[in-house]
Amino acid sequence: MTSDASPQPIQSAKSAVESLAAVLGAALPGTLASADDPANALLHDAGVARAVVGRLRREGSGAGNDGLCRWLYDAFQSNLPEIQLAVLRFVPALAGVYMSRAVSRKPLAGFEAVLLALYAHAAAQRGSGEAETVSLPNLANPSVYHDAKVPPKTKAAELDVAVLSPALEPHGTMRATRRARIVGAVLELYHGKLAIMPLSSKMEFCEFCVAWTGNRSKLDDKPRVAAASEPAAAEEKLRRVPLPWELFQPVLRIVAHCLLGPTNSDELKTQATRAAECMYWRAAETMDARSVLATRSLVRLSQMTEEPIPEPSFSGAVETNMAELEAMRANILSNKN
């Protein structure tokens, strides 16, 4: 009966932890409550991630009365930046499970409430949802990074303006035909915070990406071992989902980060490479030219080695001073400066 009581609004990292513990119970690691930095633990603790993601992926999650979805919604609406980050950490699992199940048309009001809250935040961040545009440079004119031989024209040449992300219209409910746009915008929000997301969150994203594309990759040509590829019994199989450009593009940008970003993780790069290949074949399936170009480049880049930073080079001149240096070395090191 106490669980039916209306939850207290989340006002701090500590209260967020307490209300999450009320939802997940024993599944949540005990160390979380006593953590010095609860918000950091929510974002980075492996035990928390296992508990939350495991619950999200469980069959039957995401309904209107789902307590975890309620927690995610309340935590994000707390407007505490560090708590909002912790919620964003679970976007891969949230979006991944949601899109796969939405195709089956199961009741998912809980997931949708969280996604719509994130979407509204993304729209507000863009000043009432304005489109993100890109102005392309014209190298005939000077820029901050280069000079042009020709003197600047009296009238500035009109720049090519391209739309990177279309405007975000307000949405109070999740409609099927807007699903991809809403989830795409949520992924863009996640993309903007990738630098501070934990590795496990990115690994999850690449896994869901592979599932969304229909698990197609050259690596799959050989028959797979059934036991290894089967998901856990309690988890539903992920399904192939429609990937219109408004969803395909933010997915691609996140995969590109996992593949080529500053995170030094071979495991992540391997998973991202697989995701990129799956997306390439998905694009080839319909010969969507823009998608083919972008994914083909990603796959090619995954096969190129990074040019190393030059090591210091030494001239041979030092040899002539070897005797004196040896003597000095003995003296200095013996004093243990």
Binding site: L136, P142, R178, R216, E285, M287, M328
Partner: protein, 726 residues
């Protein structure tokens, strides 16, 4: 003079820091002084000789200078500078791979003290007198050398810390090198008179610093140091600068860090200043490519791939095509370049250019079996009736050439083959050929589905093909399956289902489906569904509700026009739009069918105002004349419509129908018009009906019966709107 120099040397000794270590070093130096002094003297003598050679002093003066310099170096050799000794020793350890030992040696260096000692002489202007100038130049060179040693030591310290996994400390040390250099050369490093070793250390430090910050996870600092590297004057060579630019572009593109724009302080009048990550990355990549065109740097294939990714993200594939075209021969195989250019053009809706490139690529003397190019060519042709035949050939070659173990690509090839065959069947010149093509199309699509069972696009296209062939039961099944497979998220699936149900005359069910679709669609995109709803009302003989539906549609269309104005970036898909013209036309048709002539005329005038010469409008005008028995005016309007659009089927049907009532002598012409209409639209039931009448009047009863039967069958499967509208 000699006494003054000796005194100066003594002063230097007195102010040296690190007493204990200093004494030990001095002692060590004293022990080895003969060899050290001799080596240093030789070095100084060479320097003096070089300086003398460059000057215009008299021969006697040169001799004097050499002697004096030799004396000076001998004195200096007696006591080695503290920092220099540490620097040399540390470098030795680093070279040997003793990173920790090197670090201990470097720790003893006080960079600030060393810099303070270097700064005055390095920045001092040379005096005007010749003899002083000679000495000053020599001194300057010596100071640079000393500075170079110390700065290199701190750089190596940074490298040592990096190797020990201490990225933050490494970055801080590296930054101190750059700070020191900036304080020494307050107006930037000059292009000349800089010791090579010093420049090398500076360049390496500039390049290293952002990488260290990245490793440390301090991305904002990395960002700032990249910009510092590129915007301050470090006298970097082209290769070094290019490497930094590329790494910075990669960091901007993929780093997941939201960067603030470069400072306006670096902006000059009329300069382009990027305002977000993607713009800055694209600018840098373009600059690198331009350097390559100018021969300043070597080709790096990853640069073009990064640029491709960046420009594809924002849909600027036309710009990408220009850059691909500018790449000199020898970098890409020409078929590879053609394929890339074809993709760029296709993505930019330059279909003709794309297809021409593919034709060259797929020429028998080039790469006729290139699977990806064949698929792309088939895709291009599948959207144009006149190219359908060519597309069939490409798709067939793709099916033939694809690796049999690659079921995925084979499925895609079969899919395109089915689509092209379906397109080709629409313009078939005989019933037999059409039937053959349609059968083959379904066969290809079925085979494709067997290879890729969960591809909704295949299911949808199969449904369309069944519908066009008037197999409504199968089409219905496909439509439902498509909606299930996509979770109702693709509008055309709802529309297909609704049209199929309308074709089965299950209008109320079609309406339920349309209403469900409207619930799942945002207001802005409801146009096509509202149009279907209006036509469903017409089909159910509910004129007042039809008028209401059309009014709702008109309100939406007009609101869209005001909101978008002239559409610059067509983010809205074309097939999601309903034009205001067709709404007025629909209302005109509705009023005409109700014999509300005045209202029909008003709507027609509005439609004409939007599109002056339209076969549809002229046909509607003809219809209003016809039903008021103004036969000649009606015929005139119909003929005008056919003149405007040669293949306008409704007008041909109307002409045939009207002529067939004008007496026996007009029957052959009527028959000709009706047959022509059926050639274009074999499922036009009214054409079959009137053709049957023509045959009946001419006494060909068997033919007439066949036509009436066809009309009757088609009436049972006639959608309210053509499936081609999907």
């Amino acid at each position: 003079m000699a006494a003054a120099m000796a005194e100066s040397d003594n002063n230097g000794s007195e102010v040296s820091p690190g007493g204990g270590g200093r004494d030990s070093a001095s002692a060590a130096a004293a022990v080895a002084s003969p060899v050290k002094a001799k080596a240093r003297a030789l070095l100084e003598l060479e320097t003096a000789s070089a300086a003398a050679a460059a000057s215009e002093s008299s021969e006697a003066r040169v001799d004097d200078g050499n002697i004096q310099e030799a004396e000076s170096s001998l004195r200096e050799g007696l006591s080695l500078n503290y920092e220099e000794a540490r620097a040399l020793l540390g470098r030795l350890e680093y070279q040997r791979g003793n990173v920790e030992a090197a670090l201990r040696v470097f720790d003893g260096i006080d960079l600030q003290a060393a810099i303070q000692r270097f700064q005055p002489s390095l920045s001092e202007k040379p005096p005007s007198k010749r003899s002083n100038k000679l000495r000053s130049d020599s001194s300057n060179s010596g100071s640079q050398h000393a500075a170079s040693l110390v700065l290199e030591a701190i750089y190596l310290k940074s490298m040592s810390l990096q190797k020990l996994g201490k990225a933050v400390e490494a970055a801080q040390q590296c930054r101190s090198v750059l700070d020191a250099v900036e304080s020494i050369f307050q107006r930037g490093i000059p292009d000349v008179m800089v010791e090579q070793k010093l420049q090398e250390t500076v360049s390496k430090s500039v390049e290293l610093l952002p990488e260290l910050w990245k490793q440390a996870g301090a991305y904002q600092e990395a960002l700032a140091s990249y910009r510092r590297a590129l915007l301050s004057q470090w006298n970097l060579d082209d290769d070094c600068c290019t490497r930094i630019q590329k790494r910075f572009a990669v960091f901007l593109l993929y780093g997941g860090v939201e960067a603030s724009p470069p400072s306006l302080a670096s902006q000059t009048e009329g300069s382009y200043v990027p305002k977000n990550n993607l713009e800055e990355a694209i600018l840098l990549l373009m600059i690198i490519l331009k350097k390559w065109y100018l021969g300043k740097t070597h080709w790096d294939p990853s640069v073009m791939e990064h640029l491709t990714f960046a420009l594809s993200l924002c849909g600027q594939t036309s710009v990408l095509a220009k850059h691909l075209e500018e790449v000199l021969p020898g970098i890409y195989p020409r078929t590879g370049r053609w394929y890339s250019l074809a993709l760029c053009n296709y993505a930019a809706s330059h279909n003709e250019a794309a297809l021409n490139l593919l034709r060259k690529l797929l020429n028998k003397n080039e790469s006729p079996g290139d699977i990806m190019a064949l698929l792309l060519a088939a895709k291009l042709c599948s959207s144009d009736y006149s190219l359908a035949s060519e597309g069939v050939e490409y798709a067939r070659r793709a099916v033939t050439n694809v690796d049999s173990s690659d079921g995925h690509l084979k499925s895609a090839a079969l899919h395109f083959l089915g689509s092209c065959l379906a397109k080709k069947s629409r313009i078939a010149t005989s019933d037999h050929q059409r039937s053959l093509l349609q059968t083959e199309s379904l066969k290809s699509l079925s085979e494709a589905i067997s290879l890729d069972r969960h591809n909704p696009d295949l299911i949808y296209d199969m449904g369309i093909e069944y519908a066009e062939q008037r197999n409504m039961q199968a089409a219905l099944k496909c439509a439902k399956e498509f909606i299930d497979a996509t979770g109702g998220s693709v509008s055309k699936g709802w529309r297909l289902l609704s049209l199929v149900l309308s074709a089965q005359q299950r209008y109320s069910e079609a309406e339920v489906v349309t209403d469900a679709a409207l619930d799942e669609t945002t207001k802005w995109e409801q146009g096509p569904l509202l149009r279907i709803k209006a036509k469903l009302k017409v089909a159910q003989s509910l004129p007042m509700e039809a008028v209401e539906a059309y009014r709702a549609l008109l309100a939406l269309v007009q609101a869209q026009r005001k909101a978008y104005g002239t559409v610059k970036n067509g983010t809205e898909e074309v097939d999601n739009k309903v034009s205001e013209f067709e709404v007025w036309q629909g209302l005109a048709n509705l009023y005409a069918s109700l014999s509300y002539w005045r209202d029909a005329e008003i709507c027609l005038q509005k439609a004409k105002a939007l599109k002056s010469f339209s076969a549809i409008t002229l046909h509607a005008e003809g219809y209003t004349r016809e039903v008021r028995e103004q036969t000649q005016d009606a015929l005139a309007a119909y003929f005008n419509a056919v003149s405007t659009e040669v293949e306008h089927v409704p007008s041909k049907v109307s002409i045939g129908a009207l002529l067939s009532k004008q007496g026996p002598k007009y029957l052959p012409v009527a028959r000709s018009f009706l047959s022509d209409a059926l050639r274009h639209e074999p499922t036009n039931r009214m054409a079959w009906f009137y053709l049957g009448k023509v045959h009946k009047h001419d006494g060909r009863l068997a033919d007439a019966a066949d036509c009436f039967q066809a009309a009757s069958m088609l009436e049972e499967s006639d959608p309210i709107e053509s499936f081609r509208s999907l």
